[in-house]
Each structure stands twice: as structure tokens, then as C-alpha cells.
Amino acid sequence: MADVSLKILVVLPMYGGSLPIGRHCVAALRDLGHSVQVFDAPRLYPAFTGLKELGLPPMSVGPLENSLLQVVGQAVWTHVECWRPDLVLALAQAPLNRLVLQRLKRAGVRTAMWFVEDHAVFDYWRAYAPLYDVFAVIQKEPFVSLLRDLGQPNAPYLPLAALPSFHRMPELSPEERAEYGAEISFLGAGYPNRRAAFRALADRDFKIWGSDWDGETALARNIQRGGARISAEESVKIYAAADINLNLHSSVFADKLVSGGDFVNPRTFELACMGAFQLTDRRRLMPELFAADELAVFDSMPECLSLIDHFAAHPEERAAFAARARARVLRDHTYQQRMRALLEYTAERLGPWPEDGRPASALESVPENMRASLPPLLAELGLPPDARFDDVTAALRALNGPVPEPGVRLLLLDEWRGLHGRKGRGA
């Protein structure tokens, strides 16, 4: 398995929390040596928001949105037809419609969905899960049985993770420290349980980042930038600048502030990976992911408030927790490990991946007289020294400006091979 390099098309959702997860999957798959292309659905999202801004009767917008989604689906299918991937990996909410999924099945292209959502909140899995070859989930029972009963027997448990190359401590400027720094910080959407829980912290040095906090007057002083969306790049700065990162899993119910749910959210892994201290609510699936001395955990809001006071006064304990959590993530919970597990599971359930011997790296697959020019080119493209030939040519074709001369030669070679039905010598 490790030696097989696959062509994987990752279909990103148009918006939302699974979007950065999808991008991390792309990076991880590339790190594993696979040739990855991305269907960058967010580029099409403005068409949908624009439609809503036309002032049309809401009743007529629905069918129009549906038509747009058909176009998006056709675009995914076109990408597949042109590139012929071994696997199409969709993240939750990815715009892969029923027609495209059926076409993919007929075409023999393997499909996998990583459903990084709570099945009790997003229930569209009932209609779509059976259409995928593999439907990876972040929850266990009863979800897995429900999927099996629905006709989806391939539902591996694939908890969330972190990307060490991205989730690492950044260098913060004094200005950034001033902006992001706080004794307590929270980054996430304003779910009902969070709104209610955080009111007790309104008078503390507590900054709330993220969207969907509209109308939360009690926390108005704490909510940063009026509840604007925060990019994944900025999130690491926020995590890095806080003494205590509060991580309260979301719940649509306000009556139980600490919901005691099952899955562990991405923030848990990201903060741990960075070596940032977090105080998080206990989850049923947490013990198999983190040991008791790796995460500081609370079961209720009174306990949370008490732990905040404790850890605020004991920075050395915060550092010890953070270091242990970081080591654990680097050992067991990276996106690279998750992607490897997903691909291995897929091969186990659906049969081995095609081993058609795609060359191991661009460097090995080009003639001798082109090799010297490759390392600087790869560096210029921001690709690793062992980048695959397909990845290099894709990166060159995606450049907006002129391609450096060694790159043009590489593209010429690629086209020449295509015309003559040849592959690289590493093949």
C-alpha cells in the first residue's frame, strides 16, 4: 500500500467547517506521495449567494439553486472524466449529487465520504451514504449500525485529526499578541449551549472569535470583530496567543451546557498539535484518543470555571498538559495517519488499489539530462523534493504567469509522452 501512489480527487464543500478539514486532507495525501487534485467548490459559492441577492421570490430561488447545483455536479464529473482518479474523496457537504455518484459507480471510480459531522444534526447521510463506496464517520454506535441497515457496510470510524505542518506555534508580532492575546479564548460558532455557558465568563479577559453570535448581547464585549468568520490561518494565531483555550463542543440544545456527546471536535486535535493549552469538555470517545493526563477536561460548567481559575494560576501545569497532548497527536492523530487508514480500509473492503506503477517521483521519472534543473523548480513551486510527476505538471499548469524554462520542458515531455503513449522511466 505504501508504495502505491494514487490519483485522488478531493471534492471540497462550498463552505463551512468541513472545508478546512478538506484542505488538510489534501495536504496530508500529498505528504503521503499521492497525486491529488482538488475540486475547489468554494470558488462557485458566490453564484449561490449572488442568486439570493437578486430579490427574487424565495419560492423561485429554490429551483434555481437546484439548477446551479446540477451544474456544479457536472463540473465535478468533468473533472473526473478528464483526470480519471483512482478515488474521489468528498468531505461532508461536498456538492456531489446523486447523479454524479451513480455515474462514478458505473465508471468504476471509487468514492469515499468523510462525514465529519454529527449524524444527529445533519441527516442527509440517510439519502447519500449508500451511494458512496466508503462512508467514514467520526462517531461509533448507533451510527455505524444505522448505516449498515441502510445498506452502507463500509463505515470506518475515522476520528478527526491535525496537520502538524499547519497546526504549529506561529511567531506572533507584538501587534498580533495585542490583538489575539487573552487569558481565556474561544474560537467557534455561537451554538445555543455555548451562548448560555459563556455568559459566566463575560467579565473575564475572555475573547470569543468566530461567527453566528448574532444577538448575543450579554457577550457583546467579548465577541471579536462582530462575529466575523475566522480563517484557518488566523485560528492558529488565536490559539497561540491565549493562556487558556476553551473548547466546548457544540450543541443545539441550551438546556445542557456540557452535552456529553460522543465525537471529539477538530479543535481538540488542532490545539493539542500546536502545543497550546486547552480546557475541553469530556466526550464519550475521548478516552481512546487521549489519556487523562493529556487533556484537561471538565464535565460541567461549574467545574470548567473552577479549572479556569486553577490553570490560570498554574502555567507550568498548562505547559505540561500541552506538551503531552502534542506528543500524542503527533504520534496518533495526524491527517496523514487518517488518510492512510482510510486508503487501507478502502483497499481492504473493495480490493487492492491498481498498481500500475506510476513513477515514484518526478525526479526519478525524467531523463537524466533534466534532473539537475528539477530541484530548484520544485522549490520554486513549493513542492517537496520527492513530488510526483503528475503533481509537478499540475502545479505548472496552474501557474498564472509564465512557466520557467525547465518547467516548460517538463510539460513538453508530459505532452510528448501522452502523444506517444509512453510513461516515465520510473514506470
Binding site: V366, P367, R409, L412, W416
Partner: protein, 409 residues
């Protein structure tokens, strides 16, 4: 001084058919022409105003590909071109075009994931969906890649007999598009008699030498003293000199045919199978083409013929030979023959066009040309009949005007 690059990496005939574009750019700054290495000397001969760059596109192995082209690619990049006219919808060209800023590339432009076409090229592709009724010469397709191209009558000299005899092109690249030797022998013999027994030159590459020998066996012995077999015996300059000054060239749709038109030699061409004079007929006024006129023509070059090349027998008949005699003598010949129609080339504001009395698609062809002239601002808008408007409407897409019209896609 602006730097213009023309990228034409296709074959012999295509290179010659790039003449109008190159004529257009000759006076507009520094001109560079990129061709396949085997055609470089011909390119230098035909287009002395251009600096020719030779790409090695048929090397024996990958190492040679890399080594042979490195210097050329460096040269091209160093030119800082203002405009690059990419004539071919070819992945090789697409790769070479990556040397340049995307927005400088005209015609076929590299884009993420593939090649985007200019509005003009998209229009041309659309025309090919209705090949029988359309009329747009490839020379003009490429000529109009540049704004305000050279006038059609400045592209090639007028076709005029030069007094050196008859040239005979033995075969084209596709055997289905050429006359078999027995039929060609009849045509050559007929032309020889019609023109009073002038010298005859057999033209072609080394691969046509067996065909030449076969033709020589089929010609009457009394002719042979006047026949000179040049197949495989000429380099590019030699071929050019062999064609220059001929009275007539008998030919299928070939590179030699385009070379003859380039030199002002009157062309008498036989177009069958996938060859279509309205697309690739000899450029300029005064050429003649006997074009297959059966329901399945023009066919697709890549598709096998299910009708045993039904377009061929009409060229074996006496009617065709009589038409050839009359035409060579400059006398009025009947345009419609069994299975064949005789077309004569002329010029209009758009470029070269082929006309034939009684053409059943004349209205569509004329309407189309008129519409293209208006689009290219070569003619003032005028009223159209309902029939003309309906026909042209088939060639219009909503995306042409609802989306930005100048976009590449």
C-alpha cells in the same frame, strides 16, 4: 518594436497556409516563427522576414527531446513577446505557450487544466459542425487571429501559368484523399494533351517513389520523354524551384498544392473523401477544384469509409476528363458532373472563397461570409432575409453575448 511570435508546429501544408498571418505581422515589428525542425529550412525560404525557431518534436527518446529543445525554449522566453499567435489546438503547443504570459497568447491559450480558445477560434469550431454549408479557408482562419489582417489579394500572387509545364503531386498524406494511379494517369495524360505536350514533373517525397514508378508504367510511352520523376529527389529548396513557374499543378489536397498557390501556380485539384475545398482549398484567385459532391462528403479523416470510397469512381469517368480539358484551356466547363462539382476560387473581403454556378448552399455560404465580415468589421451591417437570418442563428450561442464576448474558454 513589438515582438510577435507565430507558433505553427503542424505539417508542411499548414505551415504554408499560415502565410496570411505571417504577411500581416511582417510589417508590425519583430517576427518569429516556431516550427517543427524538419520544416525549418522551408520556413526560412518562404518567410524570409521571420526569424525561424526549430522545435524537435519527433526525437528518438526523452533525453533527446529535453536536450534538443532547451535552447529554443530559452530563446523564446528571452524574447519577451508582445503577442504569441498559437495556430494549433495541440498539447505540444500548449506546453510551449507556457513560456509566455497567458494573456499574450492568441488563438489557443493555455489555461489551468487545458487549452482555452479565443472567441474567433470558437466561432470557427462551430462552423465545422456544419461543414457542407460553410465556407472559411484555413488561411483566413489563421489570418484573422491578428487584427486587421493583410488583404486577401496580398497573400499569394495571382494564379498565372508560368510556362514550365505540368506538375503532378503523386499522393497526399491520406491515401483515401488521393486519386489511384490508373485514374491519375488518365488525368495526367489528358492534361498533357490539352496543354500541347509540355514537360511533366512528378512531385512527392521518397515514400511516393513506388507510386511514381507505377504512374510511369501507366503513361503512354510517347509521353515519357517529357516526364521527369522528382519524387524523393528534392529538398525543400529543390521542391520550391520545381513548383515555381509551372503552368498547372494536378494535385490532391496536399502541402505541395498550398506551395503552388503560394507561388502563384494555377492549381487543378481533386478533392475527395475528407478534403473540402471550402476549408483547405488553394488560396488566392484563379484555382480550380473538382470536389466530390455526394451526400456523405466531406467525411471524417479518422473514420473508416463504410461505402468503399464511393466518392472515387466519378473521377474515372469521361465527364471529369472533358471538364479537365476545358478548364485547362480556359474554356467554360459545366460545373456539375456526376458525383463531382467544379469550383473556382475567388476573393472577397473575408479571404478566399470557392464558387460554383448552381451551388445549392450558396445562400447559406454567402450569408455566413457576410455575417463573418460584419463581425470582423469588414462590412457594414445589412438586412438579411429570413432564410439567411435563420441559418446564421444556428451559429450563434447565447454564451457569445450573455457572457463577456472577448473571453477565452
Amino acid at each position: 518594436m513589438p515582438v510577435n511570435i507565430v507558433l505553427q508546429t503542424a505539417r508542411f501544408g499548414d505551415l504554408v497556409q499560415t502565410t496570411r498571418l505571417l504577411r500581416t505581422l511582417e510589417g508590425r515589428g519583430e517576427l518569429h516563427l516556431v516550427v517543427e525542425r524538419g520544416l525549418a529550412s522551408l520556413a526560412r525560404l518562404l518567410f524570409p522576414a521571420a526569424r525561424v525557431h526549430a522545435l524537435a518534436l519527433y526525437p528518438p527518446d526523452e533525453a533527446s527531446l529535453a536536450e534538443s529543445n532547451a535552447a529554443v525554449l530559452r530563446e523564446l522566453k528571452a524574447l519577451s513577446a508582445d503577442a504569441v499567435y498559437n495556430c494549433n489546438f495541440s498539447p505540444i503547443n500548449a506546453a510551449v505557450c507556457r513560456c509566455f504570459p497567458r494573456e499574450t497568447v492568441m488563438g489557443y491559450r493555455p489555461a489551468p487544466g487545458g487549452t482555452a480558445r479565443s472567441p474567433w477560434i470558437r466561432q470557427v469550431f462551430r462552423l465545422t459542425e456544419r461543414r457542407r454549408e460553410t465556407s472559411l479557408n484555413l488561411v483566413d482562419v489563421w489570418g484573422h487571429l491578428a487584427a486587421d489582417p493583410a488583404p486577401p489579394d496580398s497573400v499569394n500572387p495571382p494564379a498565372r501559368p508560368g510556362g514550365r509545364g505540368i506538375g503532378v503531386t503523386l499522393a497526399g498524406r491520406e491515401s483515401r484523399r488521393s486519386l489511384p494511379m490508373p485514374i491519375l494517369a488518365q488525368a495526367v495524360q489528358t492534361a498533357f494533351q490539352a496543354l500541347g505536350g509540355p514537360p511533366v514533373y512528378l512531385l512527392g517525397s521518397a515514400s511516393e517513389q513506388p507510386a511514381a514508378r507505377k504512374l510511369l508504367r501507366l503513361l503512354p510511352p510517347r509521353m515519357l520523354s517529357q516526364v521527369r520523376d522528382l519524387s524523393g529527389k528534392t529538398d525543400w529548396p529543390g521542391l520550391t524551384e520545381a513548383v515555381r513557374g509551372l503552368d498547372a499543378l494536378l494535385t490532391p489536397d496536399t502541402g505541395i498544392m498550398h506551395l503552388a498557390a503560394h507561388l502563384g501556380v494555377p492549381v487543378y485539384a481533386f478533392f475527395l473523401s475528407s478534403a473540402w475545398c471550402h476549408e483547405t482549398g488553394p488560396y488566392g484567385a484563379g484555382h480550380h477544384v473538382w470536389q466530390t459532391d455526394i451526400a456523405c462528403a466531406p467525411c471524417l479523416e479518422s473514420a473508416p469509409c463504410p461505402r468503399e470510397v464511393a466518392c472515387l469512381p466519378p473521377f474515372a469517368g469521361g465527364a471529369f476528363l472533358r471538364s479537365l480539358v476545358l478548364t485547362l484551356r480556359g474554356e467554360a466547363a459545366e460545373p456539375v458532373l456526376p458525383g463531382v462539382r467544379l469550383w473556382r476560387s475567388g476573393l472577397d473581403a473575408l479571404g478566399t472563397t470557392f464558387l460554383s454556378e448552381g451551388d445549392p448552399d450558396a445562400v447559406a455560404r454567402a450569408a455566413l461570409r457576410r455575417r463573418l465580415m460584419e463581425k470582423l468589421q469588414l462590412a457594414e451591417p445589412r438586412s438579411e432575409s429570413r432564410e439567411e437570418a435563420d441559418w446564421c442563428a444556428r451559429l450563434t450561442r447565447e454564451t457569445d453575448w450573455m457572457l463577456p464576448p472577448g473571453r477565452y474558454c
